[in-house]
Structure formats: C-alpha cells, structure tokens
C-alpha cells in the first residue's frame, strides 16, 4: 500500500461506518464484537451494524491498508484464542486525520454562517 497523500485523499470521504470503526480503533487494537459495541454506544444506537456488514467494512479498510490484523495484543491477558484483532495503520491514522480535518473545515464554515453555535 502506498502512503502518499493523494492515495489517502482518494479514499475520502469515508463512510459513516468506516469513520466510526477507525474511531473505535483509535484507543488501540480491538476485535469485532468490541468494535460493534463501541460504535453502537458512540452513535447512541443509531449505528448498529450486523456482523456481516461490520466485517464487510473491516475488509474494505483492511484491503485499503487503513487497518491491519494483529496477533493478540500483549496487554490483554485473558481472551479467546479465536478473536481476531485489528488496529490502525499509520496510513489509516493519516486518512482519519484528513477526514476529521475535512469535517472540521465544514463545521467551521457552518459556524461562521452561524448555522451552528460555536
């Protein structure tokens, strides 16, 4: 996977679900069930992907090099051997930052027009 900026920009905008997955992985490596829980909590129940949809999105992020599979993280001691962990790649972080910046720019434009409160 190339890490050039233009490659990262090509992936924008991220889908709602993808953004949430990357956000969930922001705290460190995680597995499917936990990612799902995290998304559900953070979106207030609005987003609640079924396993198939979740993994479909994970695969796309995986294929595009935004996340990678890791062997079980060291800090987790008690766990099921079958769990599959993902974490953000540096490229993924950059894409996430670009997307966040894009949203930020939109938001500040809205603030200037006083469409939202500062």
């Amino acid at each position: 996977m190339s890490n050039r900026r233009s490659d990262a920009e090509e992936l924008l905008p991220l889908s709602d679900l993808s953004f949430h997955i990357l956000l969930a992985l922001g705290a460190g490596a995680s597995h499917g069930y936990a990612i799902g829980k995290d998304i559900e909590r953070r979106s207030g129940g609005r987003l609640s992907p079924a396993t198939g949809s979740l993994y479909q999105a994970l695969r796309r992020l995986h294929r595009d090099g935004l996340i990678e599979e890791v062997t079980r993280p060291r800090h987790i001691i008690v766990d099921d051997a079958r769990r599959q962990y993902f974490r953000l790649t540096p490229f993924g972080r950059r894409v996430f930052a670009l997307e966040a910046g894009r949203l930020e720019a939109l938001l500040s434009a809205a603030r200037e027009l006083r469409l939202v409160e500062a």
Partner: protein, 865 residues
C-alpha cells in the same frame, strides 16, 4: 447455542473463500458473543438478532460474489483486448449464430406462440361442414348456420364471416378494398370493442334492412381524415348508400387480408332456404370452462340430427371444429419449426468453431495457466476464468446478434410478410429477449466447457517446462478438435442437403408445364355492383361490351374475360351424368367469354370454344378440360356428351362442345382437377370477372388504356388486381422461394463456418507440426507427399463427417418431406451432389494449410523452438 453458531458457520459458506478464510473465525466469534448477550435479554432478542444477521450475510455475500464475477469479467476483457483478432472472430461467429436464432425465433414467437390478439383467444374455434364422402371441408350453408346458432349450447357465441371486396367511390378515383361480411355478434365474439359507434344488429342480417357499414380504423384515418362526425353519414359502398355505424379498434384485424370495410352478412330468402350451398366460414367461442372435445361432440350430435331431419341435403355431412389459432397459423408451423431447427444447427456449428478457437488459445496460453495454477489459483478458479471468457464472448456475440436479428427480422417481415399469417405481430419482445439470453448463455457454456475440460487437465510440470500445454493431454485434445470438425461437417451437410432438396423441388416447380402461356399477358378484374347491374343480361352485356372495347385498343392482340384466373380461386359445382345417377362429380367451374383459350395459349383438343352466339336463350354448352374428359368419359369422345348441374336456379343440362388442355389452375404443385368452362351469358353470369389480355408490347404499358376503356363504359368501376400473368406465376412460387432462400442462406453460412473450422484445425496442426514436417522434408520427403499428408489428415475428418451427416439427413428426411415437390426426401442425386460440394469446399480448406506445410523450410523448422 452451539446449534445457532453452527448455523452461522454454515451461512458463511455463501461468502467467497478468500473472505471466509481471513474473516470467518472473527465473524463466528463476534456472532457468538452477540448471541450470548441477546440470550440474556430474552428469547425475542435472539430471534431478532438471528434474522438480522442472516439478512446481513445474504446481502454482503451477494455483493461480494457479484464483485468477484465483475473481477473475472474485467480480467477477461483485458485478456481479450490483448488478442483482438481472436475476440472479433469468435464474437462475430457467435453473433451470426445467435442472430439467426433470434430472428427466426422472433418470427416463431410472433406467428406461432403469441396468443391471437383477441379476448381469451384459447376459446375461439373455427367450425366447418365436412363432406364425408370426399373429405372436403367447406363453409356452412345459411340454414345450417342458423341451426348451429340456435342449438349449440356449449358455444357462447357463433358468428359467420365471409371475405369479399367492395368498391368505394367519392373522394378521388373509385377504389377496390378488401372487405368482410360478418353476421351479428362477430365483434362481440372476438371480444374486441369498436373504437367508435356500434356493431351490427341482428335485424341488419335480413335482406332489405337499412344498409349499414363499419369502417376499419386505417380507412377511417386515411380516407376520412379521422373525422368523428362520419358516424351517421352515408357513403357509397359498391353502389349502395350505407350509413356508417362504427369504426373498428386501431389494431383490430381478422383473416389474411386486412379488411377495410365491414358489412353485415345479409341473408336473402333464397339463402335461408338452401341447405346445400356451403359458403359461410363460421367462428365460435367455447363457453367458459367448456372443453374443446366436449363441444366437438355436441357439434357432431347436432350435425347428425340435421342429417336425419334433412337427409336430402345433410346426409354425409358432419361438422368439424379446429382452434382458431391452429386454423390461422397451422400452415406456417412446419416450415417455421424447420427453419428454427436449421438455425439451431448453424449455432451448433458456430459454437464448435469458437470452441476450437478457444482450445487453440487455451493451448497457447498453457504457460500462463500453469503459472497461475502454480501460484495457487485453484482448479475451479481457472475453470471459472475459462467459462467467464466464453460467456463474455457469447454475451458480446449475443448483443451483436440481437442487433443483426432486429435488422434481419425487419427485412424478413417486409420480404415474406405477405406469405406469413400474423406477420405484423412479429417483433422483438421480452419473450425474444429471454430466448436470446438463454441461447447466449447456452452458447457460452457450450463453447467454454470444451476448452475448460481440457485446459483444466493441464500437466503443470510439462507445461512449465515446455512453454506450452503439451504432454499427457495432447492426444485427448487432438481427438477433441477432430470430433468438433466432424460435428461441424455433419451438421452443415444436413443443412445443405435440406437446402439442396428445396432447390431441387423449386427447380421442378419453375419448370412445371402450366398448360398456358403467361408471356405478354395482362390481367385485371372488374366487379359490377348488383344494385346497378341487376339482371343477368345486364351483367353479361357489360362484359361483352368491355371485351369488345378492349379488343379495339391498339396493342391488344386478343382479350377475354374469365371468372377465376388460373392460380387464383375457383367455384365448385356438383355435376351428374344422365344415366349414371349414383355418381356425382365435384368439378371446378369457371365462366368465360369467347377467346380465352386463344389468349392464354391453351390448346383446343377437340370440338370448339364457346361462341358469342351461346346466349342465355340458346342451349347450354360447356368446354371441359382434358382431365375431366379422361376421368368421366374414359375411352369415349367427350364432345357431344351431356352433364346435369343443379345450378343456382334450376337443373341445367349442359352439352360438352369442346375439350381443352389441362391448366395448373389451383397452384403449381396441386394436381389438375376436372374443370368446366361455361359461356358467361348462360347460367347466372358472374358479377365479377378477370380480364386477360395478350398484348403486343409490354403488358403494363396498356394498363392506362384498359382502365380508360372500363371508365368509358362506367366511370364508377375500378380496374383492380392489375398484374401481369408472369407476376401471378412468380407470386405463386413466392412462399417456396422464400423458404428456399432462407434455408439456403443458413446452409451456406453453416458450410462456410465448417470450412473455416476445417481450415483452422489444419492450420493449427501444421503450425504445431512444423518441426516434424521440416524433418520429413530434410530427410528427403517430396513436397507433394507432405501436402498429401496434411490434406489426408483433414479429409479423413471431413469424410467421417459426411458419413455421419448423411445418416443424420436420412434420419431427418421426414421433417422436410412435406415441403418438397416431385423429389424424394432421400433423393440420391441431391445427397451425392451435396457430398461432392462439401468435399470440394473441404479440399480448398485443407489445401491452403497443406501448401504452407509443403513449403516449410527445413532449416527454419529445425531451429524452431
């Protein structure tokens, strides 16, 4: 719990393997944890979760599969782009095959498969009266029709119809139009409401009722400008002022000629009394839920009842019903299915050709395949790739073919439309599209499976080593290519034999002795309206005057009038011979004026022609044809004999005054029937007669003068059905010519494809054997013997194909037998000639690669590889 997890694991099988292998365990784990959570929350949550998860798997798996196919297709398109020659040849070959199939199927669909364009058409039947002694199907007599209408309980509706033609005057030149006389309930029976106005009332069937008319939608738009106020107005139809009461629906039609004018079928008092005059075709509609067979039985019973009540007229008559669909399209069924079979063969030949090409390509791509296999592409994956390629080719071919078919169908309908029932209904609809899709996929599978079964049996090691797909599978593949060539030759041989047989019988038909000379003969028809020419004397006088007037025209050598021209229709008549009471003869009857035989070049064999002096008040005379004389008066002199005809008014005693040569009057391939020719002024002179004119120059240059001659006598009479006799003869051959041209084109196509196939296989074989051939030449083999070697290899396959194809053609001979005239379906001359033709074509196809083999440069060849 474990059960549900196992179920989930099972569902994962719907994903592609690459996805399942990587993410499957994680998904199962996630599902398991969610399940545990849901279980704690209650049974309802578990059910909801499982449903949601199932839906999600189905959707995402389908998306993945689609994406995988798309990837295969993209790969295939890239690989075909690198080899555009192969792609173009394969796609065009398939396009020809698929296009031919689509075109013929769209005709079959429009003519045979689509239901008739009426309400609930499955319940429509056509009923006729059958003379059981002769097996002749005829129309109903008016009283019998009346009985049927009153007594048939299982039929919802019954109606009579009778094609005719009328003259329309006013607004420009008088015009002759196709028309139909129909009884009341006709439009209701077919279930097609009129666009405007009303249909006919029952009282309008009675002679003397207020005359009314219904116009076709086309005529209403064309001649009357679509004016709604036409309803209630009076127009002159064949000299009778009639009130327009209705306009038909835009697409409504019935019968082979689209009627423009619809008149009520009127029954005169005399009509109602004559049970023996059979002239009314009858339609019926089965009651709801009534089986055809049950209704037929009732008809049978009614007919027997009438036979008992009226033995004089109804003995030996029964009623026969047939579905209207069969009645309408039955005649076209066999030739159309024959053509569909023929294009099926063409497609098979095309598929064999493309399969051969693909095989050669698979072989040359052996190393690519081997490499892909070596880096882990599964066997099924490679198989899928090969199948994808052939299906992509077939789809391109199918799309091109659909375009070809669209254009082809238009040309087909415009050229043979007049010889086909329901031609206007032929077009590309979703049935046709479904058929094309099916044929395309089948062709793709057929083409793909052949190289796939072989390509997959690849020997990895030897392929990598030798750079080609050689080694173990070599023998099998060569046999496969041989089999394909044999099949191509056999299939195309069968088609060419079919075309050959049609050509042979066509040739015989063209050379049939018609019994008359059609050269420089112009024909036309004039009909007299009964209202203006009421008496027989007036009608006879008009035609006598007309013949005289035309005879005076410069450029007309001789002229006569006859009721029914050869190759057109005729009247029948039952005659008896005095003294032979038990024998009745059904004969063709034609009224004519003197000079007809001279004008048409029909030889007078004995006695005399009718004369101008044979008038209404003189003794009745007739001229008979040779067949009648021979059949009814064998070994005697027919001239001077008398026959009795139970004519329209009374029993007429007719004396034979002359015998003329036979004429093929009822079609080129029909037997000559016994015929009588009556002097037109005697015995009910006809209202409508055809003119035949022998002209000095181009017959068509006379049309204007003849028309003027008619108008000098009566300005309201159109001269119609104007044509040269040459054209009538040629038209009579029309359907045969069409079938011949179509089957001939398909046979030629198949033959060319087969020749290309033979050429391709030999070319490939020569290129593979360059080294071996080089060695042979280096060792001193003469070039001639190398040439012979290659030709022999090809011709062996061709000869096997010819043997198998001949056997197949004999097996299929029954299929075509009905379309032939004067030639047997296993005619040895045709079979032999076709085999020779195939050998000749195949020799050329073999010679070209063989010559290349013979000029192989040994030093080059040995350096090869």
């Amino acid at each position: 719990m474990a059960d549900l997890t196992r179920l989930y694991r099972h569902w994962l099988g719907w994903y592609t393997r690459s996805f399942r292998d990587v993410y499957g365990p994680g998904m199962i784990q996630t599902f398991g944890e969610r399940l545990t959570e849901a279980r704690d929350a209650g049974k309802g949550r578990v059910v909801a979760l499982v449903m949601r998860e199932l839906l999600s798997v189905v959707i995402t798996a389908t998306l993945q599969r689609t994406a995988a196919v798309a990837q295969d297709v993209r790969y295939t398109v890239r690989s075909l782009r690198r080899n555009p020659g192969f792609a173009a040849v394969a796609a065009i070959t398939l396009a020809l095959g698929i296009g031919a199939n689509t075109a013929i199927f769209s005709v079959v669909n429009g003519v045979l498969l689509r239901p008739l364009p009426y309400e609930d058409p499955g319940r429509l039947i056509r009923i006729s009266e059958v003379d059981t002694r002769r097996g002749w199907e005829m129309g109903f007599s008016p009283p019998n029709f009346e009985s049927l209408r009153e007594e048939a309980t299982l039929l919802e509706d019954v109606a009579a119809y009778r094609p005719t033609s009328v003259t329309l005057i006013g607004q420009g030149d008088p015009e002759r139009l196709a028309a139909m006389r129909v009884s009341t309930r006709f439009f209701e029976l077919l279930g097609t409401p009129l666009q405007l106005g009303r249909s006919f009332l029952s009282e309008e069937e009675l002679a003397g009722a207020e005359p009314v008319v219904v116009l076709s939608h086309g005529l209403w738009l064309g001649r009357f400008g679509g004016d709604r106020d036409i309803l209630g107005q009076t127009i002159i139809v064949s000299d009778v002022p009639r009130t327009v009461v209705g306009i038909t629906a835009p697409t409504f039609t019935f019968g082979s000629e689209t009627p423009e004018v619809w008149l009520p079928q009127e029954f005169s008092v005399r009509d109602v009394s004559l049970r023996g005059r059979h002239f009314l075709p009858v339609l019926g509609r089965l009651g709801p839920g009534v089986e055809f067979g049950v209704a037929s039985e009732e008809l049978q019973a009614l007919a027997s009842g009438l036979a008992e009540t009226y033995p004089e007229t109804n003995k030996n008559w029964r009623w026969a019903a047939v579905s209207l669909h069969r009645e309408t399209v039955g005649g076209a069924q066999k030739p159309l299915l024959l053509l569909l079979g023929a294009v099926g063969f063409v497609l098979l030949v095309a598929c064999a050709n493309v399969a051969n090409l693909s095989l050669a390509r698979a072989e040359s791509r052996g190393r690519e395949m081997a490499v892909r296999a070596a880096i882990g592409a599964g066997r099924t994956r490679l198989l899928r790739q090969l199948l994808t390629e052939s299906i992509v080719l077939a789809v391109i071919g199918g799309a091109l073919g659909l375009g070809l078919a669209y254009a082809g169908t238009k040309i087909l309908v415009s050229s043979i439309g007049s010889q086909l029932p329901r031609a206007a209904e032929v077009g590309v609809d979703w049935h046709v599209l479904a058929f094309t899709t099916l044929v395309t996929l089948l062709a793709g599978l057929l083409v793909g499976l052949v190289p796939a079964t072989q390509g997959i049996r690849l020997d990895l090691l030897s392929a990598l080593k030798e750079g080609g797909l050689k080694g173990l599978a070599e023998f099998g593949r060569r046999r496969l290519r041989g089999t394909l060539v044999v099949a191509e030759v056999a299939l195309s041989l069968m088609l060419v034999i079919g075309a050959g047989l049609l050509l042979n019988s066509f040739w015989r038909l063209v050379n049939v002795d018609l019994g008359f000379s059609q050269e420089s003969v112009l024909t036309g028809r004039v009909s007299l309206p009964a209202s203006k020419y009421e008496t027989p004397e007036q009608r006879a006088a008009f035609f006598t005057e007309l013949v005289d007037a035309v005879e005076r025209l410069p450029g007309v050598e001789s002229v006569a009038a006859i009721e029914g021209l050869p190759l057109a229709w005729f009247h029948g008549a039952m005659l008896t011979v005095p003294g032979r009471d038990d024998e009745e003869y059904l004969l063709q009857r034609r009224h004519l004026t003197p000079g007809y035989f001279r004008t048409m070049g029909i030889p007078l064999l004995a006695g005399r022609d009718v004369r101008e002096t044979d008038q209404a008040e003189t003794p009745r005379v007739m001229v008979v044809n040779e067949t009648l004389a021979r059949r009814i008066f064998p070994g005697e002199n027919a001239v001077g004999k008398h026959m009795a005809w139970d004519g329209p008014n009374q029993v007429e005693d007719l004396e034979i005054v002359g015998v003329v040569g036979d004429v093929r009057a009822f079609g080129l391939d029909a037997d000559v029937e016994p015929t009588i020719y009556l002097a037109s002024p005697q015995v009910q002179p006809p209202e409508s007669m055809g003119l035949v004119m022998k002209t000095a120059g181009d017959p068509l240059s006379m049309v204007r003068d003849v028309r003027q001659a008619v108008w000098t006598l009566d300005g309201d009479l159109p001269l119609y059905e104007v044509a040269t006799m040459d054209k009538l003869v040629s038209d009579a051959l029309g359907p045969k010519r069409t079938w011949l041209v179509l089957l001939g084109s398909f046979a030629t196509l198949a033959l060319l494809l087969a020749a290309v196939g033979v050429y391709g296989v030999l070319s490939y074989s020569v290129s593979q054997r360059t080294q071996e051939l080089g060695i042979r030449i280096a060792m001193g083999a003469r070039r001639g013997s190398v040439l012979g070697l290659v030709v022999r290899q090809g011709m062996t396959l061709v000869l096997i194909g010819i043997v198998l194809g001949t056997a197949g053609a004999v097996g299929l001979s029954r299929v075509i037998a009905g379309q032939l005239y004067g030639v047997s379906a296993t005619d040895p001359a045709t079979f032999g000639a076709v085999a020779l033709l195939i050998v000749a074509v195949a020799l050329v196809a073999c010679y070209l690669p063989a010559r290349r083999a013979a000029v192989v440069d040994p030093t080059e060849a040995l350096r090869y590889e």
